[in-house]
C-alpha cells in the first residue's frame, strides 16, 4: 500500500467511525425528543384516557375537551415505543391504540378546522402511528387529502388566504411565533408566495411573503437551520430586486437581518433537537410548495 492508499483507507475508517458513533447519537437525540420514559408515559396515558372519554361510535361529542387532553398526552409522549398499551377510557369500553396525533387530526376535522387537522395528520404519519395501528389509521391519507382539498377549495386567485393575515397579526402584535409559523404554512398550502399586496385588516396591506414570515417565526422558535433554509427559498429577494416602489422595504430589512443571523450560525451545527423543531421538520417535508 502506498501512502495515498493508506490515507484513503484511513479516511474511510474515520468516515465509518463517524457514522458508527454519530448515527446512534443522532438517533438517540431524536429519541430523546420523541421518546418518553415510564413516568411520562403513564401521565400521557392518563390524559389519553380522559380524551377518549369524549369518543363514541367514531364521533367526538366534545372535541375541544378531547383536544386539550390529547395535546397534553402528545407533548408528554409523542412516541411511546410500546410503553403505552391500548387503553380503554372506562371498563367495558373499547380500547384505543395510543395514536394521539391521528385523533387530534380527527378532532379538528369534526370542528371543521382543516389546517390544524392536516398538520396533525402529517405528524401522525411522520411519527409512525399508522404502523402502530393500521386498522384505526387506514383512512389517514384520505382524511389528510380531504383536509387539503378543503383548504385549497377556498382559494381565489384574487383573494388572499385568511391564514396569512392571522399569521402576520400573531407575529407583529402578540409575538406568537408558533401560531404565526403554523398560519404561514397553512397559507402556502392555499397559495404560493408571490409578493402581491394583500389586505391584512381593514384597508391595511402587507406583501404576500409567507415564506419569509415562516422563516422569521422558525428562527424565533429556535429552529434556526430550518429558518435559514426557508429564508433561502423565499422569493422576496428577487421580488424586491425588481420593485422600485419601495413596498418591500420593511420585509427586505427583515430578510437582511435574518440572513445576517443565518450567516453567523456555525456550519457544523447539528439538527435542532427540540420537539417543536422536530414537528417542523415533518411539516416542511410535507409542504406542497
Amino acid at each position: 500500500m502506498n501512502a495515498q492508499q493508506i490515507g484513503a483507507a484511513m479516511s474511510k475508517t474515520h468516515l465509518w467511525t463517524f457514522f458508527v458513533l454519530a448515527l446512534p447519537a443522532a438517533a438517540a437525540a431524536q429519541q430523546a425528543v420523541t421518546h418518553c420514559d415510564k413516568e411520562k408515559a403513564e401521565k400521557a396515558r392518563a390524559e389519553f384516557r380522559l380524551a377518549m372519554e369524549n369518543r363514541e361510535d367514531g364521533e367526538w361529542w366534545d372535541a375541544r375537551d378531547a383536544i386539550s387532553h390529547l395535546k397534553k398526552a402528545a407533548d408528554l409522549c409523542p412516541d411511546p415505543r410500546n410503553l403505552i398499551p391500548p387503553t380503554a377510557p372506562a371498563p367495558f369500553f373499547p380500547k384505543y391504540t395510543y395514536i394521539p396525533f391521528y385523533f387530534l387530526g380527527t378532532c379538528h376535522v369534526s370542528l371543521e378546522e382543516p389546517p390544524d387537522a392536516l398538520r396533525y395528520f402529517h405528524l401522525s404519519s411522520c411519527l409512525g402511528e399508522p404502523k402502530r395501528d393500521e386498522d384505526a389509521t387506514e383512512d389517514l391519507d384520505a382524511l389528510a387529502g380531504g383536509c387539503l382539498k378543503q383548504i385549497v377549495r377556498h382559494q381565489r386567485p384574487n383573494k388572499q388566504p385568511p391564514y396569512f393575515s392571522e399569521g402576520v397579526t400573531a407575529a407583529k402584535t402578540r409575538k406568537e411565533w408558533k401560531r404565526s409559523a403554523e398560519r404561514m404554512w397553512d397559507s402556502m398550502q392555499v397559495w404560493p408566495e408571490d409578493g402581491e399586496t394583500t389586505l391584512i385588516s381593514g384597508r391595511w396591506t402587507e406583501p404576500y411573503v409567507p415564506r419569509l414570515h415562516l422563516a422569521i417565526a422558525l428562527f424565533e422558535l429556535g429552529c434556526r437551520q430550518q429558518a435559514c433554509e426557508q429564508l433561502k427559498r423565499s422569493k422576496l429577494k428577487e421580488l424586491a430586486a425588481k420593485d422600485k416602489s419601495g413596498k418591500y422595504d420593511e420585509e427586505h430589512k427583515q430578510m437582511e437581518q435574518l440572513a445576517a443571523k443565518c450567516s453567523a450560525l456555525p456550519r457544523t451545527a447539528g439538527p435542532e433537537n427540540s420537539w417543536i423543531c422536530q414537528q417542523w421538520q415533518c411539516w416542511l417535508q410535507k409542504d406542497r410548495r
Binding site: N158, R174, E196, T197, W204, T205, G246
Partner: protein, 461 residues
C-alpha cells in the same frame, strides 16, 4: 362558542347591561319648542370617518377602522394592530324656510307699494359653513378583545337667516305679538340665529365570541351647547320688513348640558370574510336648555318674560347592514338605519306660552309632528392593490327621508312655517391612499340641504 364565556361572566354582562340601560334611561322628557327657527333647520347626526362617508355611510357591516369605536363598536375586533384615526370636516348647510308669499289658494291683494304680490308660499334659502376637527380615536386590540377611546363631534351646526313674513288668510287683522296665530294677516319677520354643538367623548370595547361573531359596547359622555335667538319684528301690513325697529319680542333657546349614552353592536363575518352582517343600537342623549320669550323695545303688548325648561333630544338609532367582499379589492355594503325622530316631540314645549298670552287660541303643541324615518345607505369601494401606494376609490348614496318638524293643527301661522320638506338624496364619493403605516382618505357628501367634505388620516405602529 358560548361556552367560552363562563356562566358567571354572562351574568355579569347582563347585569351590567341592565344597570346601564336603567341608569341612562332615567331622564325627564320635555322636548323641543315651537320656535319658528326650529322649522328651518334639519340635523344629521353624523358617523365618523372619511372612508365611511365615501361609502355612503354604509359601514355597519364593515366597521374595520378606528371609526368603528363610535359607528359599530363590535367592528373593533377586526382591527389587528394599535391604530389612530383623526378627521376634520367642513359642513356647508343650506337652510330652507318659509320666507314670503301668500298661502296657496288665497289671491294676493296686490296694489301699489305692497309686497303682497306673490301667490303661494315661497321659501327662502340661506347658507352657513362650519369647519372643525370632527373625530379622533385610538384603538388597542388584543387577541380576542379590543379597547378604544374617541372624541366625536356629533353635531356642529350654525344657521343665520331672516324671513320676510308671508301673508296668511286674513289681510287686515294683525297679531301684535307677532306670534303665529289663527287670525294673522301676516307672519312676523324674523331674524334667526342658531348654533348647536354636541361632542361625544367615549370608550368602546369589543369581544370575539367565536364563529366569526363579535359584540361591542360603547359608552359616550356628551357635551351639548345651544344658542338660538329669534328676533321678531312686526312689519307694516303693506311694507317690507324693517329689522332696525319694531322688535316686538324675541325668543332664545340657550344652555349647556351633558348626558351619557350607550351603544351596543354586533358583527358577524363569514369564514373567508366574503360576507359580513353588522347591527347597532345607539341610544341618543337628552339635554336640557332654557327656552325664553321676552318682550322687545318695540312691543305693542307687554308681557311677563316666560322661561321654561325644554329638552333637546338626540334620537335613538337602530341600524343593520350587510357587506359583500368578493375579492380583496372590491367591497360593497348596504345599511338600513331607523332613526327615532318622533322622540323629538315628546313633551313638546310652547316657548311663547300661547295659552296665557292668547287664551282664545290653543297652543296645539300636540299637533307638532316628526316621523321616524328609515335611512338607506349604499356604498362601494375598489382598491388598486397592484398600485403603490394603494389607491382606493369609493362611491355611494344614501336616502334621507324628510324629518322636518311639521304642524298639523288649526293655527294657520304655524302651518305655514312648519311644513313638510322634500326627501333628500345624498351622493358621496371618496378616495384613499394607503401606505404601510399611514392612510389618507378624503370624501364628499352632497345633498340639497347639506354638503360635507371630510379628510381623515389613520396611523399604525
Amino acid at each position: 362558542m358560548l361556552k367560552q364565556l363562563s356562566k358567571n361572566s354572562w351574568k355579569l354582562v347582563f347585569a351590567a347591561g341592565w344597570f346601564l340601560t336603567a341608569a341612562l334611561g332615567q331622564h325627564q322628557l320635555m322636548a323641543q319648542t315651537n320656535l319658528e327657527t326650529n322649522a328651518g333647520v334639519q340635523f344629521n347626526f353624523s358617523t365618523p370617518g372619511a372612508g365611511n362617508m365615501g361609502l355612503g355611510g354604509a359601514f355597519l357591516a364593515l366597521a374595520f377602522d378606528a371609526s368603528a369605536a363610535y359607528t359599530n363598536p363590535a367592528g373593533l375586533s377586526t382591527i389587528t394592530q394599535p391604530e389612530w384615526l383623526v378627521e376634520a370636516r367642513h359642513w356647508s348647510y343650506t337652510h330652507r324656510f318659509t320666507d314670503r308669499g301668500r298661502i296657496e289658494g288665497e289671491e294676493p291683494v296686490g296694489g301699489p307699494n305692497t309686497p303682497d304680490t306673490i301667490s303661494g308660499l315661497r321659501d327662502g334659502q340661506d347658507e352657513d359653513q362650519v369647519t372643525g376637527l370632527s373625530y379622533f380615536s385610538y384603538v388597542y386590540p388584543r387577541r380576542d378583545w379590543a379597547l378604544a377611546l374617541y372624541r366625536h363631534e356629533l353635531v356642529n351646526f350654525e344657521a343665520n337667516f331672516s324671513t320676510f313674513g308671508a301673508y296668511l288668510k286674513q289681510t287686515r287683522s294683525q297679531n301684535t305679538l307677532g306670534i303665529p296665530g289663527t287670525l294673522d294677516g301676516r307672519l312676523a319677520s324674523l331674524r334667526n340665529h342658531m348654533e348647536v354643538d354636541i361632542v361625544a367623548y367615549g370608550g368602546a370595547a369589543s369581544y370575539r365570541l367565536g364563529r366569526g361573531l363579535s359584540a361591542g359596547v360603547a359608552l359616550s359622555y356628551f357635551d351639548f351647547t345651544i344658542d338660538t335667538q329669534a328676533d321678531r319684528f312686526l312689519p307694516e301690513l303693506f311694507a317690507p320688513p324693517n329689522f332696525e325697529d319694531r322688535l316686538v319680542n324675541f325668543q332664545t333657546q340657550q344652555g349647556d348640558d351633558t348626558d351619557w349614552g350607550v351603544a351596543v353592536g354586533f358583527l358577524w363575518e363569514s369564514r373567508q370574510k366574503t360576507w359580513s352582517v353588522g347591527g347597532v343600537y345607539r341610544q341618543g342623549p337628552d339635554f336640557a336648555f332654557q327656552a325664553r320669550s321676552v318682550p322687545g323695545i318695540g312691543a305693542f303688548l307687554e308681557f311677563e318674560p316666560r322661561e321654561r325648561q325644554a329638552t333637546f333630544i338626540v334620537p335613538d338609532v337602530y341600524g343593520i347592514g350587510i357587506a359583500f367582499r368578493p375579492t380583496d379589492a372590491l367591497r360593497m355594503a348596504f345599511d338600513v338605519d331607523r332613526i327615532r325622530y318622533s322622540q323629538l316631540t315628546d313633551g313638546f314645549v310652547d316657548i311663547f306660552d300661547i295659552a296665557t298670552l292668547s287664551p282664545s287660541q290653543p297652543p296645539e303643541t300636540d299637533r307638532f309632528v316628526i316621523d321616524d324615518t328609515n335611512e338607506l345607505h349604499l356604498g362601494m369601494e375598489y382598491a388598486f392593490l397592484r398600485h403603490w401606494p394603494i389607491l382606493t376609490l369609493r362611491a355611494g348614496a344614501w336616502y334621507e327621508p324628510d324629518h322636518s318638524l311639521r304642524f298639523e293643527g288649526e293655527n294657520v301661522g304655524f302651518g305655514a312655517v312648519f311644513r313638510p320638506r322634500d326627501d333628500q338624496m345624498h351622493y358621496t364619493a371618496g378616495v384613499g391612499i394607503a401606505l404601510r403605516k399611514v392612510q389618507l382618505d378624503a370624501a364628499v357628501d352632497h345633498s340639497d340641504r347639506v354638503s360635507v367634505v371630510s379628510l381623515s388620516a389613520g396611523f399604525r405602529r
